[in-house]
């Protein structure tokens, strides 16, 4: 199973150049059933990353481009009058896919945003009194431009923690940039991609992630981190219990990806910026800087 994961990662790395850590985090997020928020300026490859992952994971995939005139029904679908049968028939929207790429989510109105967020939270969609379950697995990868761009509606802060992780891509480094410029277009590479694993395999992995051992010593450290965020005056509000659970899950997945059966403090530290950054300081975009005081001050032992 681990060779499978490693191959998956290396294949992804071929497409998304020089972003190995972000790719790993994104995969980690999917392994622990979390939704992912990718936040960065346009053109750094957010969509490419989402696209690549979806294909490699072998899931059916739909992209929704969020615009200011996008309506909730454009996401979840609508009941349309069927002339033949004289009945309303529900036409599922793009959300009924295993992987949904919500592109530029902050371009649409809060109403449309919340339609997506509600679906993410409840794993189902309710239209006109009828409930339609979403497929499993179900992932949302949302991309967002930094909110200070004009004409955007940043996600409500209270809803940000629906996303397990927020990652930033950033500019590629010198070497990667050069390869990007030299190589063929990413789009064509993606078109050539084939699925690397099946939904069943993903399910097995998710199960194994849950079984990763967490010792009391590690929980001490985790609680230390949570307590620190609640006390420290660096943060307006500390991590919620839900955030704590998210952190633990992510750390488990990270440990599993490193082929370990127990979580180490390093695992927690590795996922901490992505898991805690957007919860602690929604307005800021440098997750690493946000959690730096935690990593520095909370003793491991």
């Amino acid at each position: 199973m681990h060779t499978l994961i490693n191959q998956l990662l290396s294949r992804a790395d071929h497409i998304i150049l020089g972003k190995s850590l972000q790719v790993r985090l994104a995969v980690c997020c999917l392994f622990c059933k979390g939704h992912l928020l990718i936040e960065d300026i346009p053109g750094v490859g957010k969509t490419t990353l989402a696209h690549t992952l979806a294909i490699l994971m072998g899931m059916n995939y739909q992209r929704i481009q969020f615009t200011s005139d996008l309506l909730p029904s454009d996401i979840i679908g609508a009941s349309i009058f069927d002339v033949d049968n004289h009945t309303f028939k529900f036409h599922p929207g793009p959300i009924f896919n295993q992987m949904v790429l919500a592109d530029e989510i902050n371009r649409s109105t809060p109403k449309s945003q919340s339609a997506l967020l509600e679906a993410m939270e409840e794993q189902q969609v309710t239209v006109e009194g009828k409930t339609y379950p979403l497929p499993t697995p179900f992932f949302v990868i949302a991309t967002q431009n930094p909110s200070h761009q004009l004409g955007t509606f940043p996600l409500p802060e209270s809803q940000l923690d629906r996303f397990l992780m927020r990652i930033e891509l950033g500019y590629p480094d010198h070497q990667a940039e050069r390869e990007l410029l030299k190589g063929s277009s990413r789009r064509s590479l993606i078109e050539k991609l084939t699925a690397h694993m099946s939904a069943e395999q993903l399910f097995v992995i998710q199960q194994k992630v849950i079984d990763v051992h967490v010792s009391d010593a590690l929980l001490d450290y985790l609680q230390g981190i949570i307590a620190y965020t609640r006390i420290s005056s660096d943060y307006a509000a500390g991590l919620s219990p839900r955030a704590g659970i998210a952190l633990l899950h992510a750390a488990k997945a990270w440990a599993y990806m490193a082929n370990r059966d127990a979580v180490l403090p390093e695992d927690v530290q590795a996922v901490l910026p992505s898991v805690a950054g957007h919860r602690l300081k929604p307005g800021s975009h440098d997750s690493q800087a946000i959690v730096a005081p935690i990593l520095e001050n909370v003793p491991v032992f």
Partner: protein, 664 residues
């Protein structure tokens, strides 16, 4: 936290107060005790029915009643009994008016005073333990006021813990705190309580508890040999007249004609007598004085009196001889010394007839009486029961226990009933040899009473009936020591005697020796005792005592604060301790683990600097991780880890290398 409505606290506090006051009910006037307990019960009811508690006006009425009762019962405010009653009454009245937390404190403090006053009545070990117990209950009540939850068990536990902690300090202060005798005017003398000092009369039946004062009466320095201790009778007032209860000097006793000079025999003892200040002009010469200075004179009872002021310390040079014959008896003396208060009761008459039967000589009668005392279950005690009516008969036939006065009085009474002239002589017996000064110290506790019988051709002959029952009282010096000392000596070897009965006896003896120690070391630890005891430890003088007191307190404080304030940390994980050793080894080589650094990251950092150590470091890290974070940590991992860490050797050279790498 409302202390004032906390029922548990109140029940607890009131119970403690009830327990404290309970022993007082045996010796305080009945009406006052009833008043106290009525108030206490009233207050108890008030816990559940606050409306029943007295209002302001009623409270004034109660206060007035209490004070009136107090005055009516004691006719005064000062002294032991009125004082105790005053505090009891104040406590009961204060109970009725609890409005603030402060009031509860005041009540607790009053209760402490009442508890302390208990010791003015009884000083037994039981009482001490009891009082300490009720004090701990009071402490627990105070803790309950300050702890949020009125948890009785936790509060009692804390109170006990505090008591245990303070005991050593209490003992230090007890031993070293200088005892100074209170000036006399401060003593509100209590008529019921006799100090063993001498008075101008003797009333054995009315005294139930003989105080054993260590106060010095006089000192004697012999200029030659010291006579045997058993013959050290220091003669004081002689009592010929009795009303049945009380013995005193007759109206013209001792003032008559000059006594006939006795006929002396044997060795003469010369000595200097240093009298401590006293009220009476009595000088206690060794029986019988032959030569004395001019400022002294002898009355017809051969008692020495001084013309000097007795309330100053005076010194006299005397000569005494132990063997003497006072010769004939004057007729008025014969009358005076056979006087009896009314007719002899049939019971006593019967006894004396029995004792007299078959005797020719007075000496034989004396011997019979002595044997009677010895063989008919008479015992010596310092705490005899009160014998208010007809003390002699009660003593002879019922209680059969008492101290010297009881024996002397009964003996003289019996002699007189047999128509033999006899009288009571009081004075001191024995003395403690001060080894350093080479003189005898005679203390108030050495006060004694014996008898003199007039025998034809021998004159007044001294008989000591106390010796019949408690020979040790006479034989040795400090009488406590022989009263209990023998038993102490017996305690150790006589073990393999028969069976459980012996065991019982041993227990009783053990108890007596304990009681003796209590008497000797606690109750009688007064100034003189303290000085002697501390001097024997090499601590002489007030200054040194205070130094030792301060030093003791300082040492105790240091120890206790060390005990209390040691910061007990959470017991650390074994693996962590081992890992800390590993980190220390690394620190020694210039690599310090950061607070937020995990073991793997640290290992990575080490491997960068010391690639040579990669093997052992990875092994240690792996084992540590497996033990601390792994699914199933085993003991084996721990021992392996221990081994690996102790095997880890970093050559000195590495340090320098590491530094150069850091610089790079």
């Amino acid at each position: 936290m409302d202390v004032l409505t906390n029922r548990t606290l109140f029940v607890f506090l009131l119970t403690a107060i009830g327990l404290i006051a309970l022993p007082h009910s045996s010796h305080l006037p009945g009406p006052l005790v009833i008043f106290f307990f009525v108030m206490l019960i009233w207050r108890f009811m008030g816990i559940w029915y606050p409306r029943w508690l007295p209002g302001k006006i009623l409270l004034y009425g109660l206060t007035f009643t209490g004070l009136a009762l107090l005055y009516q019962q004691h006719l005064g405010w000062f002294g032991r009994d009125p004082g105790t009653s005053l505090f009891m009454t104040a406590l009961s009245l204060k109970l009725m008016e609890i409005k603030q937390q402060r009031d509860i404190y005041l009540i607790a403090y009053l209760a402490f005073i009442v508890a302390a006053s208990q010791f003015l009545y009884e000083q037994s070990m039981f009482m001490a333990v009891y009082i300490v117990f009720v004090c701990s209950v009071l402490l627990a009540a105070m803790i309950m006021i300050n702890g949020r939850q009125a948890n009785i068990k936790a509060s009692l536990k804390k109170a006990m813990a505090i008591l245990m902690q303070v005991l050593p300090l209490t003992l230090i202060i007890f031993v070293f705190f200088p005892r100074v005798e209170a000036p006399r005017w401060l003593l509100f003398e209590d008529p019921n309580r006799a100090m063993t000092g001498l008075k101008d009369s003797m009333e054995p039946g009315s005294i139930s508890d003989l105080g054993l004062s260590d106060e010095l009466a006089f000192r004697v320095k012999f200029t030659g040999n010291i006579p045997p201790v058993a013959s050290l009778y220091w003669r004081g007032p002689v009592f010929s007249y009795t009303d049945g209860k009380r013995w005193m000097q007759g109206r013209h006793q001792g003032t008559g004609m000059k006594p006939s000079v006795p006929e002396f025999n044997g060795d003469a003892y010369r000595y200097t007598l240093l009298m401590e200040p006293q009220d009476m002009p009595w000088v206690y010469a060794l029986d019988m004085p032959a030569g004395f200075p001019g400022e002294l004179f002898q009355n017809s009872d051969y008692q020495m009196l001084t013309r000097k002021e007795p309330d100053k310390r005076n010194e006299y040079q005397l000569t005494s001889l132990l063997q003497y014959n006072t010769g004939l008896l004057q007729e008025d003396e014969r009358v005076r010394n056979t006087q009896l208060p009314g007719a002899v009761s049939p019971k006593i008459r019967h006894l004396i007839t029995a004792l007299q039967s078959g005797t020719q000589l007075t000496e034989q009668l004396v011997g019979n009486i002595m044997r009677h005392f010895r063989e008919e279950g008479f015992s010596y005690t310092l705490r005899p029961p009160l014998m208010e009516t007809n003390p002699i008969e009660t003593f002879l036939f019922e209680t059969r226990t008492g101290f010297c006065s009881h024996y002397a009085a009964a003996f003289v009474y019996l002699m007189r009933a047999a128509k033999v002239p006899a009288r009571v002589v009081t004075g001191y017996q024995g003395g403690t040899l001060n080894e350093v000064g080479g003189f005898l110290e005679i203390r108030q506790a050495d006060a004694h009473a014996w008898a003199e019988v007039w025998i034809k051709d021998r004159g007044w002959v001294r008989y000591d009936p106390t010796a019949a029952v408690a020979p040790e009282r006479i034989d040795q010096t400090s009488y406590f020591q022989q009263q209990f000392g023998d038993e102490l000596a017996q305690l150790v070897p006589r073990r393999n005697l028969q069976g459980s009965f012996e065991w019982l006896k041993t227990t009783r003896e053990l108890w007596r020796s304990l009681d003796y120690s209590w008497q000797r070391w606690v109750i009688n630890y007064h100034s003189a005792n303290q000085l002697t005891f501390l001097a024997s430890l090499g601590i002489a003088g007030l200054n040194k005592m205070i130094y030792w007191l301060i030093a003791g307190i300082a040492v105790f404080t240091a120890l206790l604060s060390g005990y209390l304030l040691r910061q007990r940390q959470k017991p650390k994980d074994k693996a962590l301790q081992l890992y800390a050793r590993f980190c220390k080894k690394m620190t020694a080589r210039g690599l310090v683990i950061r607070a937020g650094e995990g073991p793997q990251d640290f290992a990575g950092r080490i491997n960068l600097v010391f690639p040579e150590l990669a093997g052992p470091v990875d092994r240690i890290t792996g084992l540590f991780i497996r033990y601390r974070y792994g699914k199933a940590p085993t003991k084996e991992d721990l021992s392996l880890l221990k081994e690996a860490i102790s095997e880890l050797r970093i050559k000195k050279g590495y340090s320098a290398k590491a530094k150069s790498r850091f610089n790079f």
